[in-house]
Amino acid sequence: MKIKSGFVLRELAGEYVVVALGEASKIFNGIIKLNDSGRSIWELLSAGCEREEAIESMLKEYDVDRATVEADFDRFVEVLKGANILE
């Protein structure tokens, strides 16, 4: 589970946004806006983390219970899969 190449995360006007470059823009044409926890998950996935590792890391970073983190993580991954951004 990894984010396909060609997607980059940047900060713009205080928001986190992901844009698709070149070939990747044929898969996804537009931008993705992320909040702070979305950015964390994105960075973990970009770094190649698997589910358990990512969730452990999120639990350390945010003061939220495991069930919530797991649900958020899974929902985030579903959205990315739906948009064909994960490989």
Partner: protein
Amino acid sequence: MVFVLLLHRRESCFLGEIMFDIRIANIHIRIDNAYAYVFHLCREYLFETDELPELYIRVEDQEIAEEIAIAEHPVTKDYAEAVCIYRKICRQLPEHFQSFLMHSAVIEYNGEGYAFAAHSGTGKSTHISLWKKHFGEEVRIINGDKPILRFMDDRLYAFGTPWCGKEGWHTNASVPLKAICFLERSSVNTIRKIEPKEAIGKIFHQLLTPDDLKTVDALFPLLDRMLREVPCYLLGCNISEEAAGVAYKGMNGSST
């Protein structure tokens, strides 16, 4: 202008220049063309100088063929070449000239520029025509569709270029941008200011998708600055003349 008949290096034989210099957005560009169409398109932007160009643009036959293959409507080779040339120019803008293409219609009124952006078919051209009708000859169209935006002297300027949409509305001039206005069709005319975070998604639809990281890293600071310095508005408008008045008032201190 002296026209010469030349047998060109590529397949075409045409009346026009085979290589010429233009200046758009204060950038000196040399165009090494195969077809006459782009020369005629650029005739109001010709730049005569002995200086070397800042940018050299040439489009290969293969690129023209690809452009024809992906075009939504049938296009000729000479038209496709012109499209490819502008795209090549615009891809160089963020990294080398601190500027970028933003799909929009820019008008000038009272020395200030207003950029109208919308999904194609929404009615940008119709709306700016309403400004001309409402405010008269003082409204000047800088670029009807594809202006170049560039920071100069601490302000963001919009530049006319020969590439400007099907109406052919453009002026070889520049104007400081006072506001960016996103258009949506509506039965009543209303306008409201929107925050940068709401504008981000809308602006991205109007830009050339960056090809590489260098372009992203050059473009994002420009967009960030634009969003901080130029106010954005959302206009719901119909095709009555009142729409122009509502838009003007909304972007000049009073809202509806």
